[in-house]
Amino acid sequence: MTAFIDSFATQQLLPPWRARGVRTWGFAIRLDRERVEAYLEKYFNGGYPDRAPYRYEPLPGPQFGLFTVADVPEVASHNPGTLQRLGANPVGWDALSYLELYLGIPVLRRTVTPDKLLVDPKLVWVQPFVFCNNPTAVFSSREIWGTDVNLATMTREAGPDPAHLHIDTAMVGIKAFSPRSITQLLACVHIQTGDVASADLPTMLKANPDLERFVSILGGSGVFADHAPPAGVGESPFQQGVELDNLKQFRDCFDMGAAIYRAIVASKSSHSEVDNIVFFDPAQVDIDFLWSDSIAEVLKTIFGAQKPGPVGPPAGHVRNSPPATVDEVDWDLDSIPIKAELAFSFTSNVDFEVIGTLYTYGAPR
């Protein structure tokens, strides 16, 4: 490899980085095994033309994903390269803030031996979609560790209770595909929490036993690090659970159907100083996607959703077509509610680091 030539446009958030005072909300949602499998087949298991020596599979049993919202007030790079760039007179080109929303799915990665045996099962997370409102964070995520992030407009409504969440995510898209349609700032996801859960976690798990193992996986993933896990959180059946695997790929400039680089990159996030753990009543949590043709593919392939009837936007938002200005979010869309099975929030510091490039497609072996 040759040296990367830093420029004005690549003042990026180089890993590893540390975020302080992060408030995270997690919402467990039920997923369909076949759709998780189809996602893994398309992005991780296919031949391109060579196959990675890994096999990604859904976990056995009921499938769950975790919608996560993170409010990151300050994140800064701890990369030695950034420190060198800062030099003897350090400059602060590394601290920024952002809001982020993503779906994480825990899956099983097995190593494929040369004689085609599947060994060494390991729990890793994959992220079918991510929204973030900071361009620097988006460019860094996409171009360095390969997360498929979309730059979005995200608005978090501040309230008296810091654990309460009302966040709206919008992105530039097209409501209904047609050669004459015009891009707009379209509402995309609405999430709002209600009251704190009156029942404790063991009671909630007793009412929804499918969740037990998922909650133990969350425990194994470090969500309750440096903190006694809440009652009801059992030991994870998997030894690991902090690794995130991404498909990092870039198109050729001439043949947009070809990749000039395609690799599986592993990274990990570690929580520390976890505090302020709150469980919400999942029945009072609103998670609504707003249907537009621009995000229909995600809704269909991940959630099996179909175009809704004229139900309108979620409560608290009204149809406003056309919006008064181009910067205003268009809510004249129909919502698709997603049921939260479990909802919680906590504060922590988060350390992120790249573990390495697991496999580069097409590279000579």
């Binding site: 988006v138 015009i182 001439f254 000039i260 590279a363």
Partner: protein, 381 residues
């Protein structure tokens, strides 16, 4: 070939594009050759001239930086094939994108190596050290597909105080000072204001303006005819006469574990072809004000295309604003086709035979000679 797997969440629209009815506001000022050459050496002249087969040099015969504010009311995907989106709706049938873009273009001559290279591969290209857009999708496409170092900015364009004048501004995420840990914020980067388009009774006397050179009826007719002429020249010369702007950019990606290393580095050239140029008007340049803000993280890029008048700015960001008048300022409407994306040279192929791999004869060939390439090429196997 390794196929690119289109993500269901992806909002990108790959080029080529067709932009009808574009409004361009252009501003030229004298640039210094030394920093432009330093830019070319740092980002384009990697490795040895013998290895890469060419050298980029600043244009002594046209030492100007060009600032363009471009308003694209319509962006249409002009791809003839839809296989990149698998079974989904082809990009060209999805709808249109509105877009605003601002960039600074620096002319560079690419000289081929050796006598043959000097004759066949020498051509004029434009580097865009600063380019910002307001559409996230455009920024991602430019960066990841073409190596154009687009940043997402807030861009305001419109009429200034006087009718038929122009006002534009750019704000960007950045850092103001040299203090460790300072939080990024949205900062002003650039503002431009003009007087009304000439002729006008407002502002400085007409005879003081570059525009007066073009006041004669003959010159006016000539300018009006330029759009038609460029189409005509393109038609009769089968593309052998350059009538379009070709950009050159370094497309590179960091290694995940060692971000100071690149897993891919290549020079990419693209063409912006202007046609149906019309409604050309000039602003009186003494009445134009261009202001750049020398904030902490903006300092390095300003020094590429601007001579900062403050001696303090030689060593560090000053936090001050610098205003000046350009040598020429004008506006026109045109249609733009963005196409002909080529890998001119690959410095770091991921593996032999990768798409966009080592440069092959013809990718370096000067555009004026490409129509003749097939005629003189040796028969292949």
């Amino acid at each position: 070939m390794i196929p690119y797997v289109q993500s269901a969440a992806s909002q990108e629209v790959p080029p080529p594009y067709h932009f009808p009815g574009v409004t361009v506001n252009a501003f030229l000022w004298e640039a210094q050759l030394a920093p432009i050459q330093a830019y070319a050496d740092r980002y384009l002249n990697l490795g040895s001239a013998e290895e890469r087969g060419f050298t980029y040099k600043a244009c002594a015969f046209w030492p100007y930086a060009m600032l363009l504010f471009i308003d694209y009311p319509v962006m249409i995907s002009a791809s003839r094939t839809s296989e990149y989106v698998l079974q989904a709706t082809p990009y060209s049938d999805r709808g249109i994108v509105t877009q605003r873009e601002v960039f600074v273009a620096l002319p560079l001559m690419r000289y081929g190596y050796g006598l043959k290279g000097l004759v066949l591969d020498t051509t004029l290209e434009w580097a865009l050290p600063f380019i910002v857009v307001e559409q996230p999708m455009s920024a991602i496409c430019g960066r990841e597909m073409l190596g154009l170092e687009k940043l997402k900015a807030e861009i305001k364009l419109g009429e200034g105080v006087f009718p038929d004048s122009f006002a534009g501004s750019v704000t960007l995420p950045g850092w103001t000072s040299l203090t460790q840990g300072e939080l990024q914020k949205q900062l002003p980067f650039l503002e431009v204001t003009t007087g009304p388009a000439a002729p006008t009774f407002r502002g400085t006397a007409n005879q003081e303006s570059f525009w007066t050179l073009l006041r004669s009826r003959t010159a006016s007719d000539l300018i009006d005819g330029l759009g038609t002429l460029s189409d005509f020249v393109d038609t009769i010369s089968l593309g052998t006469m350059p009538t379009a702007m070709r950009t050159i950019s370094l497309k590179q990606f960091r290694d995940a574990a060692q971000p100071e290393k690149a897993v891919y580095q290549a020079l990419i050239s693209c063409r912006s072809k202007y046609s149906a140029i019309q409604n050309i008007v000039f602003y009186k340049e003494p009445d134009v004000s261009i202001t750049f803000h020398d904030e902490g993280s903006f300092h390095g890029i300003l020094k590429v295309f601007l001579k900062l008048p403050d001696p303090d700015a030689e060593v560090a960001p000053t936090g001050r604003s610098y205003s000046f008048q350009p040598k020429a300022a004008y506006r026109f409407n045109a249609n733009i086709d963005f196409d002909e994306m080529r890998t001119v040279h690959t410095f770091t192929p991921v593996f032999p035979g990768a798409a966009g791999g080592p440069s092959v004869p013809g990718q370096l060939l000067a555009p004026r000679l490409r129509p003749w390439q097939g005629f003189f090429r040796r028969p292949g196997p």
